[in-house]
């Protein structure tokens, strides 16, 4: 007789998002399976100055952290605003999705999402300029992420040159 109620067991914060890694080696089904079992989170919207220590302190609040890999600019090899956090257990990662996602780290609202698992090479930004793709095209000014987006920066330089 004892059972659960689907209407009451909503746990939407741990749902898999729409994002799928385009570089993932395998099909959609395999990727989804890994995401549903994963102990690893992608963390985005970090400041370039956010340190591994800060990430460790915050994400340890949901459980023991196994490993942190800070995302790097492919060319400069400096932090470019994302990281991976791997937990020892799925349950701890779920708590992070429920209670750390959408809160602040280093004064910025950060976003966490399930990751299929770290593989060598995935610590690098995939934008043309070396950082993350989102920093290629954005129009706003974000001092913690290198100022203007790369494309906008180029524009400014060209404009500057033209105005001569």
């Amino acid at each position: 007789m004892a059972g659960k109620l689907n209407a009451l067991t909503s746990d939407s914060y741990i749902d898999v998002s729409q994002y799928r890694d385009q570089h993932f080696k395998g099909n959609r089904y395999e990727q989804e399976k890994l995401l549903k079992q994963s102990h690893t989170l992608y963390v985005g919207n970090l400041s370039f100055y956010t340190t591994e220590e800060q990430v460790h302190e915050l994400f340890s609040k949901s459980g023991d952290v196994k490993r942190i890999i800070i995302g790097l600019d492919k060319i400069k090899k400096t932090a470019c605003g994302f990281c991976f956090v791997e937990y020892y257990t799925r349950a701890d990662a779920e708590h992070a999705m429920r209670f750390i996602n959408g809160t602040r780290l280093d004064d910025r609202i950060i976003r966490t999402d399930w990751d299929a698992g770290f593989k060598e090479g995935r610590q690098y930004g995939r934008g043309k300029s070396g950082g993350q793709v989102r920093d290629e095209y954005r129009q706003d000014y974000d001092p913690a992420r290198g100022g203007y987006g790369k494309l906008a920066q180029q524009h400014r330089v060209t404009e500057g040159r033209n105005s001569f």
Binding site: A2, A7, L8, Y13, I14, T51, Q54, I68, I70, H95
Partner: protein
């Protein structure tokens, strides 16, 4: 519901097929949704929604009776905050269909037996409360409910059972009375008086309250006594009785349907004998009621119900239930808390803040993970930006003012909450308001609290940030800059005996020398413990450890990852250096020396070294209790390391136990297969081989489990022994000097001992016999023994 329909962009034909085969599930979902969400997002009244739903369900009974029964039973168990909504619904259904009412009651009794058998005592309370409210809905006859209560209370007459067992049965009865006391007294006042009198006798003359000091958040009686939960509930029921059971807070939709429900035939509860006590039963632990507000604290608006009013009990119960239901989804949880029915008549924000902190500070541990409460409070601030932050600030201020008598474990949680909360609000706080903490000894609770908050805040930001956010007067409380201290930094250290080799080995590491080369270099380090030169250098050489580790960690000081990488790369060398217990102790000493400005780094390095078996758990415990660390003994990071170490030990044992269980299951399955497979000789032989291997594996795992448990027991023995030594020393010293024992150090130490028991009570229970025989004997100072006795009282 709709999730399933849109779950895949399959082609049209497939979707159609899927829809047909999944129909029953969809109907169940629809029924669940209708029932769970009755009254939500509706412009009509709750009563008219209930009437409508009763009509729909009545029509569905012929085809979906069992589903409806299942859903209603689940709702009774899982949505206690909506108790009266669903008892009304059941009342309406019973009025329309007497048989269904009877079947529902039977199903509830079955479910009650199930939950009790499975140690789900909290859910059982909700079931009994539901049944009792069904008396108000004319579904259950009052006399049969009284009879069930009488059977419950008779458990207090049982002998040789844990007190927590009889406590639970008394609690259930008392906690139903706000809902049904009036009705039961009207029908059976003589029996009810007898019942209450029996309960009073139990509470006053039988029940022992040794456990209370261990569970109180504050030791002070003022301004709000931290009352034992049954004592408080008893006082509340007494007051309710004096008020002739007039209770005005509970929402009772069934009142509107009185004329309909009056006509309904009632059912009698079958006689219910409480299941007997089983040795593996896990009754709920006793609690202390957390109070931090009273009517003087909410400046304007509705008055807060008094601490012994039944309204207070009902409000707190309902808010706890809402959190229990929605804790996974913070937005929903916050919204549900803020839309509490009847919120306009109470200072809801104060109740919410009090209930949340009550859970966060609950001893032994909060019902949910600590970080949930931080995020929930942030969510609440977002939804009520004009009022909730002020209440929260007021609460923080109050808790600061009462730090002197706050339990150390609760102060830890307050530190973690406050620093994490501040980090979400740019660390804005009126620190000047707390300038009084600068005028007292820095070991006192207030300055200590501020210091720990600033240290944690720095971990979430950076040193300069902390310097910027506090007034200059607070400089003594600002944490040190987390920089490495390298003994062999430059030529000024050239006179130190280890200096020359530190330079050589540093260069060797930078030039990627092999382990053998490095070990050869290290042979040159003189051993301060050795007089002979012809020693092979195999024995413990503290200087060798010092030179190698200081140099290595200095090179890797840049980040956690660099340091972990270094530990990994030179794992072999480190293991050989720490072969002995002295070696393990010394490596920890060196880690502390170089990183003493960066406790966070110390913690992660110790964690890594345990996990890679460079040091073991007992070594860490011995190091933390060593004389070298005495000056840090009251700092939070010490205890975080110790508890993390104990947790790792516990997880290790659990892991091997699990492997053993799995191997045993595999063997059992294998044996069954062989038995069922018949006379196939080849199969038999292969099977036998497999079984043989499994049996060997099981034997090995058995040994592993025993060895791990032995290590675990030893860890606790070490920890408790050290506590006893330290505390006894202090007590004897104070006694001979005729000095008051209650120094800040003593309060911290004795509460840290309590904390060990509380945080690891499940594991420690296994070793009670050994602890009692070896350590917590009658010869022990009564101050220390009291802690042990209070702990035992938690499950007696």
């Amino acid at each position: 519901m709709s999730r399933r329909r849109h779950s895949d962009d399959g082609d049209g034909g497939q979707a159609h097929k899927r829809r047909r085969t999944s129909e029953p599930i969809e109907i169940e979902d629809r029924l669940e949704s209708l029932i769970c969400r009755v009254g939500e997002k509706s412009t009509s009244s709750l009563e008219s929604n209930l009437e409508g739903l009763a009509g729909v369900l009545e029509a569905d009974l012929p085809n979906y009776k069992n589903k409806i029964l299942r859903i209603l039973c689940a709702v009774a168990r899982l949505l206690p905050e909506k108790l009266t909504v669903y008892t009304t619904l059941v009342g309406l259904l019973n009025a329309r269909n007497y048989n269904f009412g009877g079947e529902f009651v039977e199903a509830m009794i079955r479910q009650l037996k199930e939950t009790l058998k499975n140690n789900l005592y909290n859910e059982a309370v909700y079931l009994v409360r539901f049944l009792s409210d069904l008396v108000n809905c004319h579904v259950i006859a009052a006399p049969s409910m009284v009879a069930m209560f009488e059977n419950f209370v008779s458990v207090t007459q049982e002998e040789d059972v844990p007190q927590v067992r009889s406590d639970w049965f008394v609690y259930v009865v008392l906690s139903c009375l706000p809902w049904v006391g009036k009705e039961l007294y009207e029908k059976k006042d003589v029996e009810m008086d007898r019942l209450l009198s029996q309960i009073e006798g139990y509470l006053k003359y039988v029940r022992v309250k040794t456990h209370v000091p261990m569970l109180q958040v504050w030791t002070a009686e003022k301004p709000h006594p931290q009352e034992e939960y049954l004592d408080c509930l008893w006082a509340q029921i007494q007051k309710l009785k004096k008020d002739r059971w007039q209770e005005r807070h509970i929402l009772r939709p069934y009142i509107a349907f009185d004329s309909v429900l009056c006509e309904a035939l009632q059912h009698n509860l079958p006689p219910f004998t409480p299941p007997g006590h089983m040795p593996d039963a896990q009754y709920p632990m006793p609690q202390v009621v957390f109070r931090m507000f009273d009517y003087t604290d909410a400046p304007e608006g509705p008055v807060m119900p008094g601490s012994h009013s039944v309204e207070r009990f009902v409000i707190e119960e309902n808010l706890h239930c809402i959190i229990k239901t929605h804790w996974r989804e913070r937005k929903t949880c916050a919204a549900q808390l803020l839309s509490y029915p009847g919120k306009n008549k109470i200072p809801l924000n104060y109740h919410i803040v009090e209930v949340i902190f009550g859970e966060l500070f609950q001893l032994p541990s909060p019902p949910h993970i600590d970080v949930m409460y931080t995020t929930l409070l942030i969510e609440l601030c977002k939804l009520q930006p004009g009022s909730l932050p002020q209440v929260l600030a007021q609460a923080t201020e109050m808790m600061y003012m009462r730090l002197d008598t706050m339990n150390t474990t609760c102060i830890d949680r307050l530190v973690n909450w406050f620093s994490h909360h501040l980090s979400n609000f740019q660390f804005r706080w009126s620190w000047d308001d707390w300038a009084d903490c600068l005028t007292v000894d820095l070991e006192k609770p207030k300055p200590k609290f501020v210091k720990e908050v600033l240290e944690k805040s720095m971990r979430l930001s950076y040193h300069q940030r902390i310097v910027d956010i506090v007034p200059p007067t607070f400089s003594a409380l600002i944490p040190a800059e987390p920089v490495f201290i390298y003994k062999y930094l430059d030529e000024s250290a050239s006179s130190l005996p280890g200096y020359p080799v530190s330079v050589t080995v540093g260069n060797a590491i930078k030039n990627r020398a092999s382990n053998e080369e490095i070990l050869t270099i290290l042979k040159e380090v003189p051993n301060p413990n050795q007089e002979d030169d012809d020693d092979e250098g195999e024995s413990f050489n503290p200087l060798k450890i010092d030179v190698f580790l200081q140099t290595l960690l200095h090179l890797a000081a840049k980040s956690f990852s660099h340091s972990f990488s270094a530990l990994g790369k030179f794992h072999e060398i480190l293991k050989s250096l720490t072969d002995s217990d002295e070696g393990k102790l010394h490596i920890l000493k060196v880690v502390y020396e170089v990183w003493r400005n960066h406790p966070q780094m110390i913690a992660v390095l110790v964690d890594k070294m345990i996990r890679t078996q460079i040091v073991d758990c007992a070594a860490v415990a011995n190091w933390l209790f060593s004389q070298d660390m005495a000056h840090e003994f009251t700092r939070l990071f010490i205890w975080e390391i110790l508890h993390s170490t104990i947790r790792k030990m516990n997880k290790h044992v659990q892991k091997i136990q699990k492997e053993l269980e799995e191997a045993k299951d595999k063997l059992e399955k294998q044996q069954h297969k062989r038995r069922d497979s018949g006379d196939d000789e080849d199969m038999d032989k292969n099977s036998e081989d497999e079984e043989g291997q499994l049996e060997e594996q099981i034997e090995r795992l058995q040994e592993k489990v025993e060895s791990a448990q032995s290590e675990q027991k030893n860890l606790f023995l070490v920890i408790f022994q050290r506590f006893i030594m330290l505390l006894t020393e202090h007590l004897v010293r104070c006694e001979t000097g005729s000095v008051d024992i209650s120094t800040p150090w003593y309060k911290n130490c004795i509460e840290r001992l309590q904390q060990i028991f509380l945080m690891h009570h499940v594991t420690i229970q296994q070793y009670m016999g050994t602890l009692e025989n070896l350590l917590f004997t009658a010869e022990l100072d009564h101050h220390i023994l009291a802690v042990y006795q209070q702990f035992c009282a938690l499950q007696l």
